[in-house]
């Protein structure tokens, strides 16, 4: 532990919500918007989501087709590397397991690179997007996901820092190796576990 900062008493460790990982604070009703590119206005008529790369059947869903898949929901917390967390949020969409099962993973599959309609990318170990831990979501609360938060649809990987939950997601490329994405090439950690404070390269 670092030496205490002169005069800083903080809000008290005891009162701290145990759902908050180290170094995070509760953003309450706020949901900060932090993305590095221009917010895109995507047309649902031409929207698509694809699973490609090391799969038996590369598959693309349009907006109607992806909505025909079994609905899956997440209720819990999300954590941004810029130190805010939101507790007790609700998203729904489809489980990434459902999408990968439909495409059929090849035996060498071990990582995915999520890619977006804006060109943004982020890398994830396959184990972090399977087993009921990742979704493509289009509803927040009981309403469509707002555009500034990634609508019409974003990736949701809530057990990792939120830059992994790519906004305006367009698909997953299944790989047999780890390939750093946008922020990972720009100084951020390759995995991003908030409980281990894996914020930046080297953590």
């Amino acid at each position: 532990m670092a030496k205490p900062t002169r005069g800083f008493l903080g809000r008290g460790k005891a009162a701290r919500d145990p759902r908050l990982p180290p170094g995070q604070y509760d953003a309450g009703d706020q949901w900060p918007v932090l993305n590095a590119e221009v917010t895109p206005h995507l047309d649902l008529a031409t929207w698509s989501f694809s699973v490609e790369g090391l799969v038996e059947h590369p598959t693309t869903w349009n907006w109607e087709e992806i909505h025909a898949l079994p609905v899956s929901a997440y209720s819990g917390d999300i954590h941004c590397v810029t130190t805010w967390s939101k507790l007790g949020v609700n998203f729904s969409g489809v489980s990434v397991d459902t999408l990968l099962d439909a495409a059929g993973l090849k035996s060498t599959a071990s990582y995915v690179l999520a890619f977006c309609h804006t060109g943004y990318t982020t890398n994830l170990p396959l184990a972090d997007v399977t087993g009921g831990r990742a979704w493509v979501v289009w509803d927040y609360g009981n309403a469509p996901l707002p555009i500034e938060h990634g609508g019409p649809a974003r990736l949701l990987v809530p057990h990792l820092y939120f830059w992994k939950s790519a906004k305006w997601v367009a698909g997953l490329r299944v790989l047999d190796h780890d390939e750093p994405g946008f922020w990972e090439r720009n100084g951020y950690h390759d995995r991003g576990d908030p409980w281990l404070e894996q914020r930046y390269q080297g953590d």
């Binding site: 532990m1 670092a2 030496k3 205490p4 900062t5 002169r6 005069g7 800083f8 008493l9 903080g10 809000r11 008290g12 460790k13 701290r16 180290p22 170094g23 604070y25 953003a27 706020q30 900060p32 918007v33 932090l34 993305n35 590095a36 590119e37 221009v38 917010t39 810029t82 130190t83 805010w84 060109g119 500034e148 946008f182 922020w183 090439r185 720009n186 100084g187 951020y188 950690h189 914020r199 930046y200 390269q201 080297g202 953590d203």
Partner: protein, 237 residues
């Protein structure tokens, strides 16, 4: 020893050497780094406060100073209502205090003064852009930059005495200085037309609402979407 780690390096102690009041609710903290670190214009540092019981709070702040001196950084901090870190920095920190910092961070919203840049800032979003403007002036490449900053009133303008050259303009949205040629009003396309440079990268920094509207204006004027880099300031105290 000098470090050069785009990933942010490790935590280090920095000593506050000077505090300057920029506006009624913004202060610049000049800090001397215990481990000098090279950086790029546009990067930021994280400040971490530690309580006696081990509780910590950290926030990110852009560096406003040009990147020529690896020994010190200027962090300009806006005081936010109820902001756990910004209120502490404003109300408690004095010259001579030691603060724990980490950086520089960010490899995207950066500029190296070798290509044209259009800088569009809203309010406190001017901070990383000022690092770029100062770099351009120091290296004699003011010709590469055009900058516009949107603020509500003259007293909200950070670094006001540096808005002197023809490469900078200020768009006041509510109140202008006396006999200012531009009437008060929101940033518009006509403010941006004179800024456009061929093959420039646009750097837009401000609140999400400002960043989106400025980006839309730039795209409307033909700035390619892939040449617009955006940094949004969230309400993080």
């Amino acid at each position: 020893m000098t470090t050069d780690q785009p990933g942010g390096g490790s935590w280090q102690m920095a000593t506050v050497s000077e505090i300057r009041q920029e506006t009624p609710n913004a202060k610049t903290f000049r800090m001397t780094l215990s481990t000098p670190s090279r950086r790029l214009a546009g990067q930021y540092y994280v400040v971490r406060l530690t309580a006696p019981d081990g509780y910590t709070a950290s926030r990110s702040y852009s560096v406003g100073s040009a990147p020529d001196d690896p020994n010190q950084i200027d962090l300009t901090v806006e005081k936010l209502d109820g902001g756990e870190v910004s209120v502490f920095l404003h109300d408690e920190v004095i010259v001579g205090d030691e603060l724990e910092v980490r950086g520089p961070i960010g490899g995207w919203f950066v500029w190296s003064a070798t290509t044209p840049a259009v800088l569009v800032g809203g309010g406190s979003g001017v901070v990383p852009l000022m690092a770029m403007l100062r770099l351009a002036r120091q290296t004699g490449r003011s010709d590469l930059v055009r900058m516009v900053v949107s603020v509500r009133t003259p007293k909200d303008l950070y670094y006001a005495d540096e808005f002197t050259g023809s490469e900078t303009t200020v768009a006041y949205t509510r109140v202008t200085p006396p006999s200012y040629p531009r009437p008060a009003g929101r940033l518009s396309a006509s403010d941006l037309v004179p800024l456009l440079l061929p093959d420039a990268t646009a750097y837009v920094c401000g609140t999400p609402g400002f960043a989106d509207s400025a980006s839309e204006l730039l795209m409307g004027l033909g700035q390619p979407v892939e040449s617009i880099r955006v940094e949004r300031f969230g309400p993080t105290g």
